[in-house]
């Protein structure tokens, strides 16, 4: 009764969002998949070419390089960001003076956009490298570690804040009981704190991984892929294929579909892992 009366208001409540969702997500998404199997320079002149765009994408050395570069960045970033974030979170939950100020400072870079972050770190890293007579774009390794440092600076505070919230929600009685039983601080960390906040760790690992994979802005600002596209991550490589390659649209769209599938697999794994953890807890 309640339901049927309400259903008539579908148009008012859902239609505006749904229309925008169709125009800027659903239609572009479906069209994107279709176009990845065609040759096109605009949406209306598409010619069916089967999977040749995909074959071309995977035989494109820039794409393979970007894929490798992105995976390497993601692995290193996931480990370093979460390690440092956890260390800071453990320090900042020890009732030290000024905890709130420290927390606010470490979180702050997260609010600054990727383009601005890129130019800040370009200045700093080039300033250091200048002493050795080289620049950031001299070798791909420099760009790699530059990006790792930048992404650490950007994401540590974010993950730290999530870890702090998780640690603070551990019941105090649990830790008191362990102390009475004679547990050392290290045992309390590895046997109680870490296992209890495991769901948060899973979330942070995947958040870091997804953010690393999707990075575009700071990659563009820091090195723009230089030298010779060796430091372009996947998103930047797809952009270059679309807009800086002659007739690159079909291959660019195929690369984008592959990129989507990789990100979707990561998200799916996260869902499975967090679901299983929830069942374990019950």
């Amino acid at each position: 009764m309640h339901n049927r009366h309400m259903s008539r208001y579908f148009f008012v409540f859902v239609f505006p969002t749904l229309l925008a969702f169709l125009l800027s997500f659903v239609i572009p998404f479906i069209l994107g998949i279709v176009l990845s199997f065609t040759d096109f320079t605009s949406i209306i002149d598409a010619k069916w070419v089967g999977i040749s765009n995909y074959i071309e994408a995977f035989s494109n050395k820039d794409f393979i390089n970007a894929l490798r570069f992105t995976v390497k960045i993601a692995i290193v970033t996931v480990i370093t960001v979460n390690f440092f974030a956890m260390c800071l979170a453990l320090l900042l939950t020890r009732k030290i003076r000024g905890t709130n100020v420290f927390r606010a400072i470490f979180f702050m870079p997260n609010l600054i956009g990727g383009i601005v972050l890129g130019y800040i770190w370009q200045l700093i890293i080039n300033g250091v490298l200048y002493k050795f007579g080289v620049t950031l774009t001299y070798k791909p390794e420099y760009g790699f570690w530059g990006l790792v440092i930048l992404m650490n600076w950007q994401m540590i505070g974010y993950m730290m804040v999530i870890y702090i919230a998780a640690i603070q929600s551990i019941p105090n009685t649990l830790i008191e009981a362990a102390k009475i039983d004679g547990a050392s601080p290290f045992q309390i960390l590895t046997r109680i704190k870490l296992p209890v906040i495991m769901p948060s760790i899973t979330i942070c690992l995947f958040l870091t991984m997804a953010n690393s994979f999707k990075n575009f802005d700071s990659n563009l600002a820091l090195t723009a892929g230089a030298p010779s596209r060796k430091t372009a991550m996947l998103a930047l490589d797809i952009y270059n294929t679309f807009y800086n390659t002659l007739n690159g649209e079909g291959v660019g769209q195929a690369k984008a579909v592959v990129f989507f599938i990789i990100v979707a697999v990561i998200a799916f794994l996260q869902l499975k892992l967090t679901r299983r953890k929830e069942v374990d807890n019950v």
Partner: protein, 276 residues
């Protein structure tokens, strides 16, 4: 006693770390007052009589980038889009949670699915559609942001609605309120905490977004990130002095915003991350 000493040491450690954390911004700030030729070579040196440039970098940068215009468009687009997103997705999130039927269930999963799709997947086709439908202006881009941001926002609102009791709404409807009135008078005030979260997450995204506005409206309307990137690509060699000055101007509004609503921002990020 031993604990106090340990805490004092930790305090010093954290103090040093947080200073190190802020140094990159400080260096940019210092360099914004140095002549452009003295920046790339010696970014860690303080300005002296020879290298001090006063506010010249700022005046040059402002002229080159049209920074104030860019700041206006950034502000305009962010406020408009966030307003549209909060109103539309809260209505949708509430409706599809309260009225369970096959269509609404399907829509819910479609919204959740859209959260995992990276922008590059729809970059080209979305830009073309925006052009065709004349959405390539600072007002139309709000529609694009609503569509692409709907996933996470509907998801967050929907999750929150599940946790609030339905009795209040039913009482309002029995008293003769129609669903629209019920939503805005009874439901929306209860949704306020999650609405703040949604507003902050979307504001952070849209304010800093570069690629979407660059592709859709970048030729005519520059937002702050576009103006800064343009400084690099627009005029031959990069003017590091102007760049430093514009980076400082780009960071200032963010810090003001952060200081004004730090608590909401951090809480919003936690809520968004844990549920998203």
């Amino acid at each position: 006693m031993k604990d106090n000493k340990g805490n004092a040491l930790l305090f010093i450690l954290l103090f040093i770390l947080s200073v190190l954390y802020l140094i990159p911004i400080l260096i940019v700030f210092i360099n914004s007052f140095k002549g452009r030729l003295y920046i790339s070579d010696q970014p860690f040196a303080l300005p002296n009589a020879e290298t001090f440039y006063g506010l010249k970098n700022y005046t040059i940068g402002l002229a080159k980038t049209g920074f104030f215009k860019a700041a206006f468009w950034s502000f305009f687009i962010t406020v408009l889009s966030v307003g549209v997103i909060v109103i539309c997705t809260s209505m949708t999130g509430w409706f599809i949670t309260r009225v369970r039927n096959r269509v609404n269930n399907f829509l819910y999963y479609a919204f959740v699915f859209s959260m995992i799709v990276p922008f590059q997947m729809v970059m080209y086709t979305m830009t073309k559609i925006a052009n065709m439908l004349n959405l390539d202006n600072p007002v139309g881009i709000a529609v694009i942001y609503l569509g692409f941001g709907a996933g996470q926002s509907v998801f967050l609102f929907s999750g929150f609605v599940k946790s609030i009791p339905v009795e209040l709404e039913e009482a309002a409807m029995i008293d003769g309120c129609n669903p629209v009135k019920t939503f805005f008078w009874v439901v929306f005030p209860v949704l306020k905490p999650i609405a703040i979260t949604v507003a902050i997450l979307n504001a952070m995204w849209i304010w800093n977004d570069y690629l979407l506005p660059y592709l859709v409206i970048g030729a005519e309307y520059k937002t702050i990130p576009i103006a800064i990137q343009y400084l690099k690509t627009g005029y031959g060699g990069i003017d590091m002095g102007a760049m430093m000055a514009m980076l400082v101007l780009a960071i200032i509004p963010i810090i003001v915003f952060y200081l004004a609503c730090q608590r909401y921002i951090i809480e919003g990020v936690i809520a968004g991350a844990v549920k998203g």
